[in-house]
Symmetry: C2
DNA sequence: CTAAATGCAAAATTTTTGCAGTCCC
DNA sequence: GGGACTGCAAAAATTTTGCATTTAG
């Protein structure tokens, strides 16, 4: 559990394909873009733009928040990162582009990835196939994580 | 197709159980609350707060936008309406509380409800059951609806 | 060298809040 | 009548934009 969890893909591999993708999309490989991408690829908590900015400021004191926003938007357009669907007002992001799903703790707002191959293999209802062309289907599970269950238990006992 | 699509539940039934729910939650049945709820219950397009406000202004010229926001937040807290997960910055809402899923057209942003009983009956992966307690699981399908496919086709031909 | 990207500041958008007056129960 | 709710206005929070300067290719 001490190692960074990144599926089968190492950070180095991600950086390499990121750089490759930027080159073929004619996106310049700036210091900011590399660092923003690296930070997001390293994160496992689906951070929002502000969180990323705060983290990056430690090593890049002049990085501006609007560059983070602009850069994430550019990345998302080019399918280098994904905006995560949430019910909260702040947008959150992830660098993991392979098919996966999310569990969200409604208490602490933590978002965790998970795989669900048997769902992925499932075909959608017939009327949906009529609707148009489908690019992806994803599951979001809502609930309360163990940690928060424990905390809420404590509160009750007070 | 000319009739309002509201599953098996008629608007009147929805209004009745809404009023009932407000009473038991000690929420006062104000004119604004009733109208906001009715407007949302009637809508099939998962409107955002501003859209609802714009529609309601026609018959309630003094209704303020902040009341719409406050009211929707209150309703959501009491599980009378649901905030819909989207990747866009504006929150969207629905009054339909029964288990269902969403197809979203990435082009026109239309959100459509659909049922998927066989998915609902599916049990989640084992590691997720370990994660905590689950309150619900929902599918979001992304793609392009027929209408937008047709439009994009036209554009190509120009 | 040149177009694209960045930082700064300012604006736009979306949502929330304080407070005085109004209305439901 | 009293506390909850609303409208107004103002603020907060989040995201976007214009422009001068810098940088990658």
């Amino acid at each position: 559990m001490s190692e960074k969890k990144r599926g089968n893909t190492s950070l180095q591999q991600m950086m390499e394909s990121f750089e490759e993708a930027c080159r073929s999309a004619d996106l310049k490989l700036t210091h900011q873009r590399l660092e923003i991408y690296r930070e997001l690829a390293t994160a496992t908590d689906h951070p929002c733009a502000e969180t990323l900015h705060r983290r990056l400021l430690k090593h890049m004191p002049t990085l501006s928040l609007d560059t983070v926003y602009r850069t994430l938007a550019t990345f998302a357009q080019h399918h280098l990162v994904k905006k995560v669907q949430t019910v909260d007002s702040q947008a959150r992001f992830e660098a993991e582009m392979s098919q996966h799903h999310h569990v969200i703790c409604d208490s602490c707002k933590e978002i965790m990835d998970f795989q669900w191959g048997s769902f992925d293999a499932f075909s959608v209802p017939g009327d949906i196939e009529q609707w148009g062309s489908i690019t992806n289907k994803n599951v979001t599970i809502h609930g309360t994580c163990r940690k928060c269950q424990a905390t809420q238990q404590e509160v009750k006992q007070t």
